[in-house]
């Protein structure tokens, strides 16, 4: 087989690039900028080499290889279409975040009170974090997987507490450690039980679902323990409550990676091990799938509410990640439930889940980077103190608007594609289980909440009037921080205008997991058509045509205004006849969405965490008075 040597060299190239990144991070730790650039270069190399692996995996569906047969500790690696998507997300977003880090970390380590050696350990740990994430998805032996999973968790912890001198950071790290410890203990117990039940540490596709086939209580225990561990990592409420604390504590490029890819690896493991179409008991899978989907639904509602009520840029985005993880889990749970009974429908749910993963990696990664730019420019995360950054930071503002449109699920953005596919799944799913109608209700409310928090983030930070001197003097970030934002923004919009870009890989990944007919008609013109159901066509969406219509309508609207060709004049805003500065009369973020803010805020109850007092600053509320 000529594939093996080629695959071996591709894997070696990738590993060398990643290891080179770690070594360069250590060796160049005294020259921060150089370390950042060399690490970026190493990641670009790893990305190119992984594209080579991917081209081989894509052809056959999956390829595997074993190293070190001789020494008794063989390391088996597998590359499938599904895990290549995740490897590319890790390396791609990793590259964007590392380039972004160069100036960000340099600036952050100059802040007064920063420990002298804080900056030295950043790049090696970051590279270790990225390398361990790649290892997590491609190691097929469960023990090796568990080791990589823990390295990832530890490197993640080190990055979360990178700025440990700041208030609240250590507490967030401690909380992350405690939750992760419980989750990982569950995974470890599950691996041991899995070994005792099957006599193997190999986790092939759908292994856990297959285990349920024998109907023993142990199988359900294994499934449940794995699910608990993965849900902890995914940030699902309540076991994932570490997330809203850890994301704001970490440096912004790290937040982008935690939210953009690390938590998504749990989604990979669920998709990889828990979905299977044949030889599984339909009843048990339906029950597990619907329970997981319901937990996802809870997170959609609670995360969305908490995000819409929050006034901290990064905490708002962290709650939004809870909601987006909820969507992902709902899709994967539905796919799990439908897999034994209706493969086409399961494929549709699976594609929706993977599209959510890709879309959220792009837009959440982007939004955390924009939050980092705001922090870089103003030194604050407080939406109450921000406002009017649009004038000083035009590029970041436009990027943030693109990200917000996508996370808010507005048509012609990547986030909308996932939501659209989920609607199609649920409508068809209602014929299988009436629970689908309840989930429809959940995502209708969830969509509005996501639009509300997306608007709040952009509106309170970038639009409106500057609150004071800090926001008023904000400047645009350097080019190496702007470029990653622009690239991600373009990606989020391009995937929305031409959904085939992200839908096709997801569909092909399913094609290798289960051999069902495609739920979508051909995607050649970028259109999404679901020719299923009794009516023959569940739904259709042709983004290029809709874009053309928006262009025609926009030209009509602009034509009306241009016909008149009136002069424009800049004037101060109307303050009831008083000459007050806008900064005194504006509505601060804490007054938004009043009088429902307290209700929305109360919806998400933080899991009580002992040892240290809450470090969250007390939020002030202003009343609408209506």
């Amino acid at each position: 087989m000529p594939l093996a040597p080629m695959l071996e060299s591709a894997i070696k190239l990738t590993s060398v690039a990643l290891a080179g990144g770690i070594v360069a991070g250590v060796a160049l730790s005294r020259w921060q900028r150089a370390a950042g650039w060399v690490c970026s270069l190493a990641l670009a190399g790893a990305l190119a080499a992984s594209a080579w692996i991917g081209s081989m995996a894509w052809e056959t569906g999956a390829v595997g290889i074993e190293f070190g047969h001789g020494n008794g500790w063989p390391i088996a690696l597998h590359f499938s279409r599904l895990n290549m998507i995740f490897i590319w997300l890790v390396l791609g977003l990793g590259l964007a975040a590392t380039i972004y880090s160069v100036r960000y970390i340099e600036h952050a380590s100059q802040a007064p009170g920063t420990p002298r050696y804080a900056a030295l350990r950043y790049y090696p740990v970051l590279m270790l974090f990225l390398a361990s994430m790649v290892a997590v998805v491609c190691l097929s032996n469960l023990i090796a997987f568990f080791i990589a999973w823990n390295v990832m968790s530890l490197a993640g912890l080190a990055l979360i507490v990178h700025e440990y001198h700041k208030p609240g950071v250590l507490r967030a790290g401690l909380k992350f450690a405690a939750f992760t410890l419980v989750g990982n203990a569950a995974i470890f117990a599950a691996i041991m039980l899995y070994h005792s039940a099957t006599g193997s540490y190999q986790a092939h596709d759908g292994a856990l679902a297959g285990l349920l086939g024998d109907g023993s209580p142990i199988a359900h225990l294994v499934f449940g323990l794995f699910a608990f561990g993965f849900l902890t990592k995914l940030g699902i409420y309540p076991m994932g409550d570490w997330l809203p604390d850890a994301h704001p504590a970490a440096p912004s490029p790290v937040s982008a990676l935690l939210s953009g890819v690390m938590i998504k690896l749990a989604a990979y493991d669920i998709a990889h091990m828990m979905i299977r179409t044949t030889d599984v008991p339909a009843g048990a899978m339906m029950a597990w799938g619907l329970v997981l989907a319901a937990l996802g639904g809870v997170s959609v509602l609670l995360g969305g509410s908490a995000a819409a009520a929050n006034n901290d840029t990064k905490r708002l985005l962290a709650y939004s990640s809870v909601a987006q993880s909820g969507y992902i889990l709902m899709c994967l749970g539905l796919s799990m439930a439908f897999a034994p009974v209706n493969q086409t429908l399961a494929a549709l749910a699976f594609v929706a889940g993977i599209v959510f993963v890709i879309a959220d990696a792009m837009h959440k990664g982007l939004l955390f980077l924009t939050a980092g730019s705001v922090l870089h420019a103003t030194g604050t995360r407080d939406l109450v103190q921000l406002g009017g950054l649009g004038d000083g930071m035009p590029t970041t503002t436009v990027a943030a608007i693109a990200g917000a449109l996508s996370v808010g699920g507005i048509p012609l953005s990547a986030g909308f594609v996932g939501k659209w596919l989920l609607f199609q799944t649920l409508l068809l799913g209602a014929a299988v289980t009436p629970m689908a109608a309840v989930y429809l209700l959940v995502i209708v409310v969830g969509s509005i909440l996501s639009a509300a928090y997306a608007l709040k983030y952009v509106g309170a930070a970038f639009l409106g009037a500057p609150a004071g001197r800090i926001a008023g003097e904000a400047h645009e970030v350097p080019g190496s921080m702007r470029v990653p934002q622009i690239v991600l923004a373009v990606g989020a919009l391009a995937a929305g205008l031409w959904p085939a870009l992200i839908v096709r890989p997801a569909l092909q990944a399913w094609g290798y997991l289960g051999a069902a007919a495609s739920p979508l008609a051909d995607l050649r013109m970028g259109e999404l058509l679901v020719p299923l159901g009794a009516s023959g066509m569940v739904g259709g969406f042709v983004p290029p045509a809709v874009l053309a219509l928006v262009a025609v309508a926009g030209l009509m609207a602009l034509g009306l205004a241009r016909l008149a060709g009136v002069p424009t004049r800049e004037v101060p805003s109307w303050q009831s006849g008083l000459a007050l500065p806008l900064a005194h009369t504006r509505l601060p973020a804490s007054g938004w969405y009043w009088p429902f803010t307290p209700i929305l805020r109360a919806a998400y109850r933080e899991i009580p965490f002992p040892w240290t007092p809450a470090a969250v600053p007390v939020e002030t509320d202003a009343s609408d008075g209506s």
Partner: protein
């Protein structure tokens, strides 16, 4: 499929957009006249909204913000609403092959709402910002009712496309959905008692307060067109049999427009004339009650 196959749909859509653009101000004029009659006033002529829009288009554009949101917001607001008008059926004529289903349709209207709220926040003025904040909250009240009542039809017709939804058999669930849609119509079009976003007497126009000239005209035009869309959607989806027997398409379109006027006079006009504005929490409570009914109809439709 090739893109050229979608050209007929794009053609119909453009026709629908132009119709909505032309008829919507007359609709507003007729409703204004009715309100005047109910309130024992003489009222302006029914063509007044056209004159208002023309006058605004010719007026100087005073801006408080030069941000791109303020510049591109009003045309985007109007465009999103017009596209929604273009992709929905009119007079029983389906835009085939469909380029957008009900999820995209609602997404476009949500884009319009979000744009209006964004415009409000962009000015930095407290009046605008408060109005924008309320716009989002009102969305939270109205959108679930709209979405859920349409989903009942989609569930019954096993399709999210407009064509498929028309195949929904009439039953308890669809009748309940039609009733909730009708009861929430006032909320969708944000007329009194749900004009909470603009609330002229307290927020001096909310998000509209800092707009002037052509940009204000575009937003007004969009608001009038929204009124047309929501009424026409009721006719198209819940009582399509009132149009389906008409043999000539042009006549069916006219009948559709007549229906929209009747619906606006009877429901929108009269309710707006005899009610005071609700508080935001009252509006939300009203929305939640209707959404609960629509949700029950949806679950009933899924089970039965």
């Amino acid at each position: 499929m090739t893109l050229s196959q979608y050209l007929p749909t794009i053609g119909t859509a453009v026709a629908g957009m132009v119709l909505a653009l032309l008829v919507a101000p007359l609709l507003e004029g007729v409703v204004r006249k009715l309100r005047a009659i109910i309130q024992s006033r003489q009222g302006p002529p029914v063509t007044q909204p056209y004159l208002d829009l023309l006058k605004l288009l010719a007026k100087e554009d005073l801006r408080v913000s030069v941000s791109p949101v303020a510049t591109w917001g009003p045309p985007l607001f109007l465009a999103a609403i017009l596209v929604a008008a273009g992709v929905m059926p009119l007079g029983g004529i389906m835009p085939e092959p469909a380029v957008a289903d009900i999820v995209v349709f609602i997404g476009l209207l949500a884009l319009a709402n979000i744009t209006l709220a964004g415009l409000g926040f962009a000015t930095g003025s407290a009046f605008s910002s408060l109005g924008a904040s309320r716009e989002v909250m009102l969305m939270l009240a109205a959108e679930p009712v709209l979405f859920l009542s349409l989903l009942v039809l989609a569930l019954k017709g096993q399709s999210l496309t407009f064509t498929g939804m028309l195949q929904a058999p009439v039953g308890v669930a669809t009748i309940a959905a039609a009733l909730t849609y009708l009861l929430a119509l006032q909320m969708y079009v944000a007329k009194i008692p749900f004009d909470i976003t603009e609330a002229e007497t307290e927020l001096i126009g909310g998000p509209l307060s800092e707009l002037s000239g052509p940009r204000l005209a575009m937003v007004y035009w969009g608001i009038y067109a929204k009124q047309f869309i929501y009424s026409s959607l009721f006719v198209q989806l819940f009582v399509p049999w009132t149009l389906s027997f008409i043999p000539w398409p042009l006549l069916a379109v006219l009948a559709n427009v007549a229906w929209v006027f009747a619906l606006n006079l009877v429901v929108v006009g009269i309710v707006a004339s005899v009610n005071p504005r609700l508080r935001l929490d009252q509006a939300l409570r009203y929305g939640v009650s209707l959404a609960a009914v629509a949700a029950m109809a949806l679950i009933y439709a899924a089970i039965v």
